[in-house]
């Protein structure tokens, strides 16, 4: 996997400190290092990306090679230290790996870290495959150390989660024996130092750009008056497209092909070689039209009469992932050769006519997920009150789907807690619930809660503590206590943190016990009369807890279908008007049994002991 290649490359480069915060598609890089750690590398999941970057920076100013990993929105959290570190510089090589997510497939934004590199005046590497990622991260460490600057390394999802055989180097760089931080005013950022370093940065960028013009993974080939430019995974799509068009049998026009693996500082000399003799250029890239703008700027600066086409001209889609089909279509149009896409081929045409209708299949909370129970408890107890539910980033964002429909807002990590405060200002008579997961609580929830306590904004903070970072692959965090070094640390207790920052009403509750949970929700809601109230729903993720026996529906007794209508559980199906539980998916959470008005659902092993006659509806339907 590309992410493993990045981790292995960092090991080959002699990395000493690896930090990060999980986020798709970056999450597998850091565990690759920790799994092979002989003990001399410090590997940690930090509480957030800002902290991770600062820990790595501390090691780097002392001379150690360090790497920090995150996804693109994580870089927004880490932007503050990164911008300043760009001015301060480093001693040991430091690579900031930021995985971008065109699509987006698992993200809030389609931001482009190459543009962040331009903004922060830092070099950036953009690998096209797992093989390249392995080699390029080693180059990135070397460049960083040589120029004394942090370096960005930006793979995208299809590189991170693509797999290919990677040839590993036999000899690994040896980490220096002993390092010692050398006290020096150069490590203390002050306006004067920033001014002086700013000049150095601007002087350094053209030097690196010149070096990048001969960099081994930037390539220029071909001849002709037409030019194609590409980067990253789109290079693969371009290669595929040229093969497809070539196989159609008609000759393709002569053309040049430029691949840019180091978009910033832009390899100007290489680009000028590319421009030589060209009339028209098509730039095929994902996310921002980064190379397109650089080429347009360069053409303007050099007063070249060359037309640069791409996203701005409508030749390449402005949003979402590129595909082989779309890239083939774009190149065919640019070359002026006919191309019939597969969708209108005979097989495609058959399908357009006769294809049976298929429902969408969005992601959902797992069967047995304790978040479902927590949402149901809040929903049921707030049925007659005006309540607004601010969500956050994690599996529980999936609580937005019907029938739960329990996420009214979602913005970014930690924002549920703070947006609820703004919503309260506008609607002071409503109840404002902010749902936050355990890992997100530590990441960026605590400061927001302090803000609510300080500004006397009464919200209900609902911590959905499932004892792991579930969405990104079950990473540990301060509340779980286990670390990437194999130690078990002192667990940081969420309830104690809440009490310490001044939350007066703090209650813990097992969300799988519905009646008790509903009573706890009402108590927390009422406690907002006295300020911020917190309710901690504690129940481990089904991926870290052993399953209970699965449940079964007594078809004779099944009448209400509450389980189907209210829960949205993937294990419960409707067959001939009756609820049926798929025992291979059921986790035995018991929630459906608790809401069934006819007592028709019971653990599989207890079925024979249950009465088969329906009982009258209970008082809490």
């Amino acid at each position: 996997m590309g992410n493993e290649a990045i981790g292995l490359g960092a090991l080959a480069a002699g990395v000493r400190v690896v930090t990060g915060y999980p986020g798709t598609p970056s999450s597998e890089i850091l565990p690759t290092v920790s799994e092979r750690n002989s003990g001399n590398i410090h590997v940690e999941w930090s509480v957030n990306e800002k902290v991770a970057l600062e820990v790595a920076a501390g090691a780097a100013v002392a001379g150690a090679r360090s790497m920090v990993t995150m996804k693109q929105v994580g870089l927004n959290v880490a932007a503050d230290p990164l911008m300043s570190l760009a001015y301060l510089g480093v001693k040991g090589g430091m690579v900031v790996v930021v995985a971008d997510d065109p699509g987006p497939i698992s993200s809030q934004t389609e931001q482009d870290t190459r543009t962040f590199a331009l903004f922060s005046k830092l070099p950036v590497f953009d690998p096209a495959s797992p093989e390249e990622a392995y080699e390029m991260i080693i180059d990135a460490f070397e460049l960083s150390e040589r120029f004394g600057t942090p370096v960005l390394f930006r793979p995208t999802t299809r590189v991170c989660h693509g797999n290919a055989p990677v040839k590993l180097r036999e000899t690994l760089a040896a980490a220096p024996e002993s390092l010692r931080f050398k006290k020096d005013s150069r490590w203390v950022i002050f306006p004067r130092l920033s001014y002086e370093n700013h000049i150095k940065m601007e002087q350094r960028l053209p030097v690196i750009a010149e070096e990048f013009s001969s960099y081994r993974f930037n390539s220029l080939s071909g001849e002709g008056r037409l030019g194609l430019v590409t980067q990253g995974i789109s290079s693969g799509y371009v290669g595929e497209a040229l093969t497809i068009l070539g196989d159609l049998g008609q000759p393709l026009p002569a053309h040049k092909l430029l691949r840019v693996a180091t978009p910033h500082p832009f390899p100007k000399r290489l680009a000028l070689d590319f421009f030589d003799g060209l009339d028209r250029v098509l730039v095929i890239e994902e996310l921002d039209p980064f190379i397109e703008r650089e080429l347009q700027r360069l053409a303007g600066e050099q007063q070249l009469s060359v037309t640069v086409l791409g996203k701005a001209s409508g030749h390449i889609q402005v949003a979402g992932e590129n595909t082989v089909a779309a890239v083939t279509q774009a190149i065919a149009g640019f070359f002026g050769v006919p191309f019939v896409p597969a969708a209108s081929s005979p097989i495609g045409a058959t399908m357009l006519v006769e294809a049976p209708e298929l429902p969408g299949r969005p992601p959902v909370l797992c069967a047995g997920c304790s978040h479902r129970s927590a949402f149901i408890a809040v929903k049921r107890s707030m049925r007659k009150r005006r309540a607004i539910f601010s969500g956050d980033i994690g599996c529980y964002t999936l609580g937005n789907a019907k029938p739960l429909d329990m996420v009214d807002t979602c913005l970014c990590m930690g924002a549920g807690i703070t947006m609820a405060q703004g919503l309260h200002v506008v609607e002071p008579n409503a109840l404002h619930f902010a749902f936050i997961g355990d890992s997100t609580f530590f990441h960026s929830g605590i400061t927001g809660i302090i803000n609510a306590v300080y500004n006397r904004t009464p919200i209900v903070v609902v911590v959905l503590d499932n004892a792991t970072t579930a969405m990104t692959g079950l990473q540990p965090h301060p509340g779980t206590g286990d670390t990437m070094m194999g130690w078990v640390s002192q667990k940081v207790d969420i309830a104690a943190v809440l009490r310490a920052i001044g939350v007066k009403h703090v209650e813990k509750c097992d969300p799988l016990k519905l009646e008790e949970s509903m009573a706890a929700v009402v108590r927390a809601a009422d406690a907002t009369a006295d300020g911020v109230a917190a309710l901690i729903f504690e129940s481990p993720c089904i991926h870290v807890a052993p399953p209970a026996p699965s449940y079964i529906v007594d078809a004779e007794a099944c009448e209400c279908k509450e389980c189907i209508i209210r829960l949205g559980c993937p294990a419960i199906l409707s067959v001939n008007g009756k609820a049926v539980i798929d025992e291979t998916l059921c986790f035995g959470c018991d929630l459906c049994a608790q809401i069934c008005m006819f007592d028709a659902i019971s653990p599989f092993s207890l079925l024979s002991a249950k009465p088969l006659s329906p009982k009258p509806p209970s008082a809490t339907p």
Partner: protein, 207 residues
């Protein structure tokens, strides 16, 4: 030698591991491999697709264009239909007969019929191999071997360009030791199911 394989299923069904096993077997056979898979948010019960590309020459892109797959491995009939545009004319579809109903399908009246989907696959694909994945899982005693059973069926149908022995070896290298025997059993059960399904397909093709 070239084989383009699309794996379509529902998050949690084991599609990612299926892709890894096929890739492993191909790598061990000295072939070039590129794969791409869905990880992250979409894994939670959503539609998931993996691309596996095997070749004796260089492979440009991990994702293939529509109309390029030699083989479509469908873990579920609806998801197989969703990915059918990737299949090349005359390609092979190996599909599990058991449907996974989308959550809240009952609420939104979006239930669909597995047999109707399979019927449609039969009309569009070059070759269709339907296997009863549930029966194999029950026979082996684990719901988690569906992926390996489908690989067994595809390998037996000659749709992977890999032999059952090569896949067995990949299973031994990739899985925890205590899971190996069970999965090898599932592999061969899938292969046998494909053998039994074949005559039906010939019948269908001659209709």
């Amino acid at each position: 030698m070239k084989a383009n394989i699309v794996i379509a299923g529902v998050g949690g069904q084991g599609t990612v591991l299926a892709g890894k096993l096929v890739a492993r077997a191909a790598m061990d056979a000295g072939l070039a491999v590129r794969t791409s898979e869905t990880i992250g948010m979409a894994q939670r019960g959503g539609s998931v697709v993996s691309h596996v590309r095997i070749s004796d020459g260089p492979i440009a892109s991990p994702l293939m264009p529509q109309g390029a797959a030699d083989t479509l491995l469908g873990f579920e009939p609806g998801e197989a239909v969703r990915c059918l545009p990737y299949l090349r004319p005359g390609g092979t579809v190996v599909v599990n007969a058991h449907t996974v109903a989308p959550v809240a399908a009952a609420l939104t009246h979006t239930e669909y019929s597995g047999p109707a989907m399979i019927d449609y696959l039969g009309k569009c694909g070059g070759r269709l191999v339907v296997i009863d994945g549930d029966a194999i899982c029950a026979e082996v005693g684990s719901a988690k071997v569906l992926n390996v059973a489908l690989i067994g069926a595809a390998a037996a149908a000659g749709a992977l360009g890999l032999t059952l022995e090569q896949i067995e070896e990949a299973l031994r290298k990739s899985l925890r030791p205590k899971l190996v025997d069970m999965n090898i059993q599932a592999l061969h059960a899938g292969a046998r199911a494909a053998g039994q399904a074949a005559p039906q397909e010939l019948q269908k093709e001659t209709q």
